[in-house]
Structures are given as structure tokens and as C-alpha cells.
Subunit: 284 residues, 2 copies
């Protein structure tokens, strides 16, 4: 493989040299935000939506990005040219920056946040037809600042052995029996009357979630509302959405089979339409 590059505060450097001093507030206090999008054949997918959310997350954590949206576009383009990875994942990370006392945020004038843009090969996972289905295991946990895309995945990383032990593919969080989300994806059910339901609050509003809701609204009733664990017993279908995984059917949650325990027709239809939307975006 050729040498790969990273952008650190706007400067293109070899990935091997991309490091943050240990006084950075991400390392000291877990303080930072990020966003992540794909490129397909060099075309960033839903880039403006991801930049919207990145800018919103930075504002929510009071972290000045120090770059305009146009400058971010240019930086991303520059990184793509340097690395030349047609199908990739690009991650923008903005940390709290170097803090002399390891606690206080320093203003932009004294250094401010660190902006890191990385790119890694990511073969396109999306195909016209479903490739797999997954099983989830539930866990009672409410993410802090759920609507901000912070770097806080403490519980998610910690739960990995639990997921493995239960032979599940991922964990589904709930709070007092109200379902929220998976650590890196949004959750949907299809009810018996073909209503598409997804949790409406205390979750990260995924870009793929939004695209899926837009697609679904053209043919189905959609509801963004509290969704109880009890409702899984009568759900006809279930699926998750994420930038990396697109749309994946969920066939079992804990000991409950969803519907017949096979990917359903509505899931299949929405997956196909999401595939077409992504392909359209890639061809623009």
C-alpha cells in the first residue's frame, strides 16, 4: 500500500506522524466530537448532511472548528487527492485541544481544538439485495448528550465482550423499557399495519435514519416516538440503519423473534430504495 495521509489542523501529514500531545482534552477528559461519511468511487456520500451535523455537534460542545464549511470541503478534497482511495470512510474528529490544566477548554486564540481528518479504505457494503441479517441483545443504558455526535463510546466499547458472550451482533440500548438506539446505528420497527416506527428522542439522529424516513414517508405512515421493548413482540419487522451498514434487517432481539425471524418485505423494499438513493448520490 502507498503511504497514506491525514489532515491535522489543516496540514497534510503522513498517517504515521498523526499524533496528539497527551494534554489534549480527548485523552485527558474524553471531550470531543466527530463525524463519518463514505466515499464511493471518490464521491462523498451525503457530505453536506454530515457537515451540517459536524458543525452542529461542534457548536453543542462549544468547540470552534476554525474552518468554514467551504474550507472543510477543500480539505476533504485535498485528502482524497493525496490518498486516492475511491471507496473509503472519512472521519472528521474535533477534540477539546491542548489544555494546560487538563480541564479547562483553551480559546481558539490559545490553540483551540484539534481537527483531525482521516481516511481509510472501506469497500462499499451496499448491494441491491440484502446480504445478511443480525441479532441484537438489549441493555439498559442512556447515552449522555445523545443528540450530539461526541466521541463517548465508553459503554459501547465496554459491552463488546457482553455482545460476544450472548452471540449477538450488536447491543440495543433502552431506558426503563423505552428503546433508544444501537451504539452506532438507529433502530426501526415495522408494525403489523406497516407503520414505520423509530425512536424520536434521546438518540443520535443518523443521516441514514433521515434518508430512510424520507424514503419510507413516500409509501408508509412513519412515526418518530417512544418505542417500548414490549412492542417488539408484535412487530412484523425490524432493522437498523447507519452510514457504514446502510440498512440491515434485525431478526431476533434477546429471545424474541421479530416476525417470522426472517427479513421482511418492507425492510427489503426500503433497503432497495436506500441502495438506489446512495447509487444516485455516488453518480452525481
Amino acid at each position: 500500500m502507498n503511504e497514506s495521509f491525514v489532515l491535522l489542523n489543516g496540514e497534510l501529514i503522513p498517517t504515521a506522524n498523526a499524533a496528539l500531545a497527551v494534554s489534549d482534552l480527548a485523552i485527558q477528559r474524553g471531550y470531543g466530537i466527530f463525524d463519518f461519511f463514505k466515499t464511493l468511487n471518490q464521491r462523498p456520500i451525503f457530505l453536506n448532511d454530515h457537515l451540517d451535523r459536524f458543525i452542529a455537534s461542534a457548536q453543542q460542545l462549544r468547540l470552534p472548528i476554525g474552518k468554514t464549511r467551504e474550507e472543510l470541503h477543500e480539505l476533504i478534497h485535498r485528502l482524497q487527492q493525496a490518498n486516492n482511495i475511491p471507496d473509503s470512510g472519512i472521519r472528521l474528529t474535533l477534540t477539546g485541544g491542548y489544555s494546560p490544566d487538563g480541564y479547562a477548554l483553551t480559546p481558539a486564540s490559545a490553540g483551540g481544538p484539534n481537527l483531525i481528518i482521516t481516511q481509510q479504505p472501506l469497500p462499499s457494503a451496499i448491494t441491491p439485495d440484502l446480504q445478511r441479517s443480525i441479532r441484537l441483545v438489549t441493555y439498559a443504558h442512556q447515552r449522555q448528550m445523545p443528540e450530539t455526535k461526541t466521541i463517548d463510546y465508553l459503554m459501547a466499547i465496554w459491552l463488546q465482550p457482553f455482545i460476544k458472550e450472548t452471540c449477538a451482533d450488536d447491543v440495543l440500548y433502552h431506558t426503563g423499557g423505552v428503546i433508544t438506539e444501537c451504539p452506532r446505528s438507529n433502530f426501526f420497527v415495522v408494525t403489523k399495519d406497516n407503520t414505520i416506527v423509530t425512536p424520536g428522542r434521546q438518540v443520535l439522529k443518523g443521516i441514514t435514519r433521515m434518508k430512510t424516513l424520507n424514503i419510507a414517508a413516500q409509501q408508509f405512515t412513519i412515526e418518530e416516538r417512544d418505542l417500548k421493548l414490549d412492542e417488539l413482540k408484535t412487530a412484523k419487522e425490524a432493522f437498523i440503519t447507519s452510514t457504514t451498514k446502510h440498512l440491515v434487517p434485525v431478526v431476533q432481539i434477546d429471545t424474541t423473534l421479530i416476525g417470522k425471524g426472517l427479513p421482511g418485505e418492507v425492510t427489503r423494499l426500503l433497503h432497495r430504495e436506500l441502495y438506489e438513493l446512495v447509487m444516485e448520490e455516488a453518480a452525481r
Copy 2:
């Protein structure tokens, strides 16, 4: 100032070179633990207690330290010799380590966690007499994994402007009206009948908290139990404890004056005895 040093994975390096690659799980996912203790006149204060907790935190997050307790002692001694800062704060940080996919923990055989030991000057704050009192503002928040000393201070850093706006010195967390702790210190009240009460669960068990409870138990009834916000109205005294701040009287919480709004006699007594204990430890 002379050049200062840091220990990175057991290697003594100049502080200016102490950096972690951006693929570290602290930067990617906020995954890591730490501990922090003081030295007074080169003597580490309550070091074994801090190492006990550091080792326990590492186990709870499934992060192999890769060093025995004796090796940690030796490393700390080596850092102290290199830096020669008699009154200092020493921080041990253990991060999730470099992760190729930015999510999975890598086993020790493939690198494992990163261990960083840093030292900074910290003039001794403890004096025989109280030096100041503080005011707190309450905020509804439950820390995740509260009994593990993780690097997650997302909410604490985020709340700094809120603390400033309310002209308070720090924030006091509660969950549904049950008090837990401040972001970096434990909270105590003294009731009208001179019982010392501190929250018993869902808090970080501070080393200074433990020392204070040991001291208090010699003369007072102590209770580790749920403490409600309502109880602040009738509390006679309140104080916080931490490694950095030792024991500091709290005279106001939101709009409630604690007792007469002045440091109380029990607080003064416990502060004096804690001072003596720390001085004894420093002279050992």
C-alpha cells in the same frame, strides 16, 4: 524551568514529545482510565490507595496495565527523579490503545493499552486552617460507570460555562433529587445531630473521601447512604473532599445557605485532622 519528562509505556521522554497516535481509543472513543495523586516534598501521598484504585479501574475496563504494582512504583520513582518537582501532581493514564478499526480493543500482544505517567508542579494547597469556602450549583446528571475512574468528564467540561454563569465554584450532580457527587470531588453533609452523611452508591469512591470517613468515624456517626436534595435545607454543614482540594467547606447550594452560610465546626475539625494525616504521610 528545566525540561520536564513523561513516561510513555515505561519509556522516559521529554514532555514535548509525549503524544498518542490518533487511532488511540481515547481519541476515537473516549475509552480510558486514570488516577491522580500528589507528592509533598517528594513523598507520594496515599500512593498505595491510588494504585489500588488504578488497578481496579483498569480491570473494570478490561485494560491490561502490562506492569506490576512494583514496576509502577519504580516508574513513578524514576519520573520523580527525572523531573525533581517536590510538590507535584502525578497522573497515571491508561487508554484503550491503538485500534486498527477505531472500535475494537487490541490485545496486549498487539500493542494493548497506552500507559502515560505525567507530573506537574502542584503547590501544596493543604494548610492547618481552612483557606476558603465554596458555593455549588446543582445539575441533574448521572455519570456512567461512576465507580470506575474513567476519563469521561464530557458533562463536567461542558458544564463549565453554566458554573461560571451562575457564579458558582462547582457543580453538584443529582439523579432524581438524590445527590451523588461533584465532577472531581465527593460531597458530605453534617446533620443537626452531628452525623456525617455522604452518598454511598453511584459515585466515585475518592481516596480523600475514604480517609475522611475513617477520621470522622472516630468521633461521629457516619452514614454512607442516599442523600436527598431536600436534606440540604436542614443540614448544619457541608463540604467536599478531593485529592487536589483536600477538604473544602460548602456554604451555599443553589439558593440554599448551608447552616449559617459559614464553615462549621465539624468541617473545621475534620479538615484539621485530614491535614495532620496528610502531613504524617508526607513525613513517613
